[in-house]
């Protein structure tokens, strides 16, 4: 928990190794001085500044910047150092601002080495000051504490150092300024504009201080005493205006200004007009990154559907308008004389071409934006959402909990064959899967055996992905392979030992497997309906079950078919899912009796096929199964890990 300090407030520090983060809108100088117990700096060797950035236990940046990180090791400070003053100053040798009043309030945070904020402080109420002591770390009875100081100096660094009892303050200040000017001349570019985040207002760093510009003379020290600070009280500031110099404490919360907020910084525009915003992975709503990515992928899906709809309707309209115009030319007798007809026809075609070009330009703009988004989203996806080629699968580890969704494949439209949208379905599956190994119109090239094999391979890939997505022991896969034709395809599953048992073969095996699962569905349903989930038999596996059926309806009698339909209808609600690898033609002897079964399952294909419709516009999307890259061992690798986790029960 971060303590938000106000001026004068202190806060204990948990450790001695700390980082101090400084953010200001403009490049500023950050430094630190050490003081002894009499609050005096013992010499120039006790000042860390860009010219001498490291001291024992202290390190500061070498140049002026909008953001700084100061490393502090309080245990390694020189003997006798009791105070560390963190100071900020505006660079003098550049055409930047000359007083803190004209930049956004600097923000300082003390963080642990792991980045957790311990305390933070926003230095408000600055006006004519060009140097400020932001924080003080001090030793109090062998424990270190931090205090928000916020003491500004109109006379700049020289005044500040003199105030800390350093005799060579003037010389050191000019050394620091020289070092900073050298640093600025070295720097290549101003830091990029930062978007204003949350309520923390920072000025966007614009107007780069170009090297080699006329140096602005440092502001004349108004008072030799060094405390000549006369901030004009901000009108409307609650209560009596506090003079930061008089040591009194301003109890107003620095972030909760009720009136007279600092002038709004020129916020960096999220995107230049006409330019799309830079896509970011996880840029959607959701409680977790996974949910945000899921929603983002669905958002991309919807955007692509709608963009394509806009393009298609514009092109359709252009064509129908051209047809109408051409018809009109044809039916107009005047157009048969001379060139008027040709001219009218040419005009109609030109109008058509113009509109199609415009529509294409709009489509290309949107596709480019979506492609850029896909490029950042795809590598950020967790395993269950990721393609098999993604590196996350190489480093696969059994998950602790069920992911939100599973990638079943890719979807794309003919307008943009390269832009593939992950097809994510929610887990647990609401419908079984039907991997259609039959011939469909598009893939007449592949022969039947090849298709069957492809269907089996993609069934194995889907099953492996499901197994890998569930925590070990919470997902069990049963296989029915009545004729044993899928033995070689199922071999990876068998070898890795991730199946509940060997694939069931023969009519007896089919019956046994189906009966077991039917009984489970029945028992769980009864228990759920009567609200006695704890009355289930001890040996009943309550995890999710997947039944993979190959070669349907080979080996199935009428009773088995009925059981299968029962599982397809009732199973998903109680965690029993069905994956059929089947060609509908094989079961044609059942006639329309099995149509409800096919309809109840989500049909996917082992080869790209355009049979899926989106829920918004109803385009036909080409589905592409998630294929393991050729020659890749990722599937074996993942299955081995799953099998290992199942055996050891470890996660």
């Amino acid at each position: 928990m971060t303590a938000e300090l106000v001026r004068g407030q202190n806060h204990p520090l948990p450790g001695t190794r700390l980082e101090i983060r400084v953010s200001a809108g403009k490049p500023i100088v950050a430094g630190a001085t050490l003081c002894d117990d009499r609050r005096t700096v013992r010499g120039t060797a006790w000042v860390a500044h860009p010219g001498a950035p490291t001291l024992p236990g202290l390190e500061v940046s070498r140049q002026a910047a909008a953001d700084h990180r100061l490393a502090v090791d309080l245990g390694a400070l020189p003997d006798g150092a009791h105070h560390v003053n963190v100071l900020l100053a505006l660079p003098v040798g550049a055409a930047g601002p000359v007083a803190f009043g004209s930049v956004a309030a600097p923000f300082v945070a003390v963080t642990g080495l792991d980045g957790t904020e311990i305390a933070s402080y926003t230095i408000t109420d600055l006006s004519a000051e060009s140097a400020v002591v932001a924080l003080e770390l001090y030793r109090r009875q062998d424990a270190w504490k931090v205090r928000a100081v916020g003491q500004g100096y109109a006379g700049g660094l020289a005044d500040m150092l003199a105030d800390q009892g350093l005799p060579q303050a003037q010389e050191l200040a000019s050394t620091i300024n020289d070092a900073v000017a050298r640093g600025l001349a070295r720097s290549v570019a101003a830091p990029p504009p930062r978007p204003a985040d949350e309520a923390r207002v920072r000025a966007a760093a614009q107007g780069h201080t170009a090297p080699g510009q006329q140096p602005v003379p440092p502001e004349p020290a108004a008072d030799p005493a060094g405390k000549a600070i006369a901030p004009t009280p901000q009108p409307g500031e609650g209560g009596t205006p506090q003079q930061p110099g008089d040591g009194s404490v301003n109890y107003t919360h620095p972030r909760r200004q009720t009136s007279a907020p600092p002038p709004p910084p020129p916020t960096a525009a999220p995107a230049a007009p006409g330019q799309p915003a830079q896509p970011v992975a996880g840029d959607a709503t959701g409680w977790s990154l996974e949910e945000r990515l899921y929603n983002q992928v669905w958002g991309m899906f919807e955007d692509l559907a709608r963009t394509a709809a806009a393009y298609r309707s514009a092109v359709d309209f252009a064509e129908s308008r051209m047809d109408q115009e051409l018809d009109k030319v044809l039916s107009d007798p005047r157009s048969r004389i001379g060139n008027t007809g040709d001219a009218a026809r040419a005009a109609a075609r030109a109008r058509h071409g113009d509109l199609v070009d415009q529509a294409r330009a709009a489509l290309d703009r949107d596709l480019a934006q979506l492609a850029a988004e896909a490029e950042v989203v795809e590598p950020a996806l967790p395993p269950a959402f990721a393609d098999w080629s993604s590196p996350v699968w190489q480093g696969y580890r059994a998950p602790m909990e069920i992911p939100m969704a599973l990638r079943l494949g890719n979807l794309h439209l003919p307008e943009s064959p390269d832009l593939r949208i992950p097809m994510l379905v929610r887990l647990p599956l609401e419908r079984g899967l039907w991997i259609d190994s039959g011939r469909s119109g598009a893939d007449s090239l592949a022969d039947a055996d090849q298709l069957r094999r492809l269907g089996l391979d993609s069934a194995v890939a889907h099953a492996a992905r499901l197994l890998a997505s569930y925590p070990p022991g919470e997902f069990t896969v049963h296989v029915i392979d009545a004729a044993g034709t899928g033995a070689s395809a199922f071999a990876p599953l068998v070898r890795a030992g991730v199946l509940a048992g060997p694939p069931a073969t023969g009519a007896a095996g089919v019956t046994a497997a189906l009966t077991r699962l039917t009984q489970r569905v029945d028992l769980v349903q009864m228990a759920v309906r009567s609200g006695v989930a704890d009355a289930l038999p001890q040996d009943l596996d309550t995890g999710e079950q997947l039944l993979v059926v190959n070669d349907f309806p080979h080996g199935f009698d009428d009773r088995a078919v009925t059981q299968l339909r029962y599982l397809a209808d009732e199973g998903p609600a109680v965690g029993v899912h069905l994956m059929m690898v089947a060609d509908r033609e094989d079961a044609s002897e059942y006639g329309p009796l099995l149509d409800p079964l096919w309809r109840a399952l989500l049909r996917v294909t082992p080869v790209p096929d355009d049979h899926l419709a989106d829920p918004w516009v109803g385009h036909a999307w080409t589905y592409e199964p998630p294929m393991v890259p050729p020659g890749s061992q990722v599937l074996t690798h993942v299955l081995d890990r799953v099998g290992e986790a199942r055996r050891t029960g470890s996660r």
Binding site: A310, F317, A359, A362
Partner: protein, 192 residues
């Protein structure tokens, strides 16, 4: 700065700084007028519906209304049906958001209509208005008051149409009769 529009008035949807508007909201708000009766000022619920019809060259291409909340291309969105009105007491009860930059290139006019779904005439409605808001900064560009309602159940409010590279809005305010936008089509066509 709000322009209080009168019937037939046209305004150009340019920002004050000359930039084109990117996204506008057509908001509709109303309250049922109190009726004198046995129980004093009991009000009956009035369901007004806002619809937007997208035209390409005078052909209706798409429509956004309470049963089709998003145009196929996603550029026009209805925020959802409000059955009683008066929720915001002056705020928008129904709103249609138009992302002008994403409207497909062939759509050249968008007509906004209001229908009384429950069949009451606008005499039984009070404080009804339709306004056009710049969605990017919430600034009201134009307001069109529906008061002085007569014996009609629908009104063709306004149209937003392409003018050069940008868009223009014309207040129409034509009374008509009908339960949904379909009934209004004959009345809309003369305004295109």
């Amino acid at each position: 700065m709000t322009v209080n529009m009168t019937k037939g008035q046209a305004i150009s949807l340019q920002k004050n700084d000359g930039g084109a508007l990117t996204s506008v909201r057509m908001g509709l708000g109303w309250q049922a007028a109190p009726r004198r009766g046995l129980f004093g000022t009991r009000t009956r619920e009035v369901d007004l519906d806002a619809s937007a019809v997208l035209f390409a060259d005078k052909q209706p291409v798409d429509v956004v209304f309470f049963r089709h909340l998003v145009s196929d291309d996603g550029s026009v969105r209805h925020t959802g049906d409000n059955l009683v009105g008066g929720v915001g007491q002056g705020g928008d009860d129904e709103a249609i958001l138009v992302d002008l930059q994403r409207v497909p290139v062939h759509i050249d006019q968008i007509v906004f209509t209001v229908n009384s779904f429950t069949g009451q005439t606008f005499q039984e409605v009070q404080n009804a208005f339709c306004r056009l808001v710049d969605e990017t900064n919430g600034q009201e560009l134009a307001r069109f008051t529906l008061d002085g309602g007569g014996q009609y159940t629908a009104q063709i409010m306004a149209k937003v149409h392409r003018a050069g590279a940008g868009w223009q809005m014309t207040a129409l305010g034509n009374p008509a009769n009908g339960r949904t936008f379909q009934d209004l089509m004959p009345a809309i066509l003369p305004h295109l």
